[in-house]
Amino acid sequence: MSKLVAVYNDDKKLMDAADQLVKAKAPVEEIITPFVIEELLEKFHIKSNIPLLAFFYGVLGVTSVFAALYYTFVVDYPLNIGGKPNLSLTFPVLMFIGTILITVLSTVGTFFVMAKLYPGKDPEFEYPGINDDKMVVLIDKSKLTPSMETKLREIFETTGAEKIDEV
């Protein structure tokens, strides 16, 4: 499978290119950047539902930690600690920390599942410089018509791509 690759070294130039790519309805497969550029998602109208999932994980975390605490301290093994009620006001401390743990771990796990990543996976795409400071736009050539390809090459050239390549 051959791919059209445009390499950028400046995020502002990449933003210009992204605007024109959206306008030209280019079949962009992937954009690989060394840091997070959230404007890209906005420009390509990609909505992530991870924030919403994270909220539900948070709710799940609160309830499950509370249930665990309630079971241990009230139902299963009620201890008299200084005459305090078993359903104690100190629960929120543990609930707070447990919620953070559960939310963060499940969100990262969800991200791995959504991105189809796992430890020891072979890289899907390799190109010199993409692990350093280069930003790379990938376009699937099999979906391109010849006229579209010349148009895209023109866009990459005018917006100042460092290199246009085929892999």
């Binding site: 959230e38 906005e42 909220f55 200084g82 305090k84 006001l89 100190t90 929120p92 401390v93």
Partner: protein
């Protein structure tokens, strides 16, 4: 785009009417019940004093973080600090004329039941005498206000110089940045004692080292709510036509963060005292929760934490100016409730018409006097805002960034 803020006739009449209402309510309250009158003066004055100080803290934070987006709104928190002058006058009046009506340590027989019966009461007050006495209290009030007034006046002075002196604008900006650090340091140091004096000494047998931290956080949180309220009003009147959802979102982040911080401060003091279970510490919460009003006690944390936290969580609601308006009004009501729960419970039993059972006292006196202070605050803030030639800072290095502010989300 309107360049200078105009304190319109309509607003002037509104604030004057509010002040007249406050004056009438004050006179009536003074004739009916002196204790209640002074408790109200303390409550309403402290409410706006803390907002003025918290707004100056908010502005200093923008300076030291070199925040660009908020540069255009600098006038709003800046004008709040003019309220320190009337606040000082009312505090002086309270200190000279109302001390014995409000503070039990100044008049133990009048406030504490069976004071002469139990010598322990006297012993505790005698131990605290070197700190809690009238003369030192006056000296401390003077020190607090001199420090606050000097530091905020310096910030305002540099801001004015920056506007008028284009060639050295950056130099004045750097000076403001430095004196913001000075303000934050001086304010936190003095406010710890101010919190002890004005609110905590209402219960001279109770003490909590966390109390002033909670009040400081609350001032910062609620001041950002009032800033949003006034910015919304100015935006509606056409003073900030450049505002977009990014500006609103950044404002709402302050409310969201503040609500979590407030809940944290509220909880750490309550939880530690609950767990420690030492009678003289627990008395504070026992009075509020079981003697005064359990529902108001719970309502405080619901209004100040749960409602803003859940409402501002979704991205769409957090960017909506109308939602922000409703939230900031709710949060300011929550602040009133918080101050009310600090001031009223220990004093309620001295009000006329309250028998053996303590219950919340809230009536037209409270509303009237609070409205009077609100009118005064409005008048002071808007009048001084109108004195500046431009509503937008002129030579501020970040003003362009603020006008073109845009967040990705």
């Amino acid at each position: 785009m309107k360049k200078q803020f105009i304190f319109s006739k309509k607003l002037q009449t509104i604030s004057l009417i509010l002040m007249v209402i406050g004056l009438i309510a004050g006179i009536l309250a003074y004739m009916a019940d002196t204790n209640r009158f002074w408790a109200n003066i303390l409550m309403s004055n402290y409410f706006f004093l803390l907002l003025a100080l918290g707004a100056a803290f908010w502005m200093s934070l923008q300076y030291i973080a070199e925040a660009g987006w908020s540069a255009a709104f600098k006038r709003v928190p800046e004008s709040f600090s003019y309220y320190l002058v009337p606040a000082f006058i009312f505090m002086l009046a309270l200190v000279f004329f109302g001390l014995k009506y409000v503070y039990p340590w100044a008049n133990p027989e009048g406030h504490i039941e069976d004071f002469n019966k139990y010598p322990e009461f006297k012993e505790i007050l005698e131990v605290k005498e070197p700190y809690l006495n009238k003369n030192f209290f006056i000296i401390r009030t003077l020190i607090f206000f001199v420090v606050w007034f000097l530091t905020t006046a310096l910030l305002r002075k540099f801001s004015k110089k920056e506007d008028n002196d284009k060639a050295h604008a950056l130099k004045w900006f750097e000076k403001s940045r430095f004196f913001s650090k000075v303000y934050i340091f001086a304010f936190s140091l003095t406010f710890i004692f101010a919190g002890f004096d004005y609110l905590m000494s209402l219960e001279p047998f109770w003490y909590s080292t966390l109390f002033s931290i909670k009040e400081l956080i609350s001032g910062f949180f609620h001041a950002s709510a009032l800033i949003i309220l006034i910015v919304y009003f100015l935006h509606k009147k056409g003073y900030y036509p450049f505002m977009n959802s990014s500006h609103w979102h950044d404002f709402s982040k302050y409310l969201f963060m503040g609500s979590v911080l407030f809940a944290y401060a509220w909880y750490f003091q309550y939880m530690l005292i609950w767990y420690g279970n030492i009678p003289e510490e627990a008395e504070h919460y026992f009075l509020r929760r079981f003697h005064f009003s359990q529902s108001l006690f719970v309502l405080n944390i619901v209004i100040n934490f749960f409602i803003p936290f859940l409402v501002l969580l979704p991205n769409k609601l957090a960017k909506n100016p109308k939602v922000l308006l409703i939230m900031s009004i709710t949060i300011l009501i929550g602040f009133f409730l918080d101050v009310y729960l600090s001031v009223f419970p220990p004093l309620v039993h001295t009000f006329a018409g309250v028998g053996e059972h303590i219950h919340p006292v809230f009536g037209l006196y409270e509303i009237g006097i609070f409205l009077g202070f609100a009118g005064l605050f409005m008048f002071v803030v808007f009048r001084n805002m109108a004195k500046r030639k431009r509503i937008l800072p002129v030579n501020h290095p970040y003003i362009e960034e603020s006008l073109l502010h845009h967040n990705a989300h």
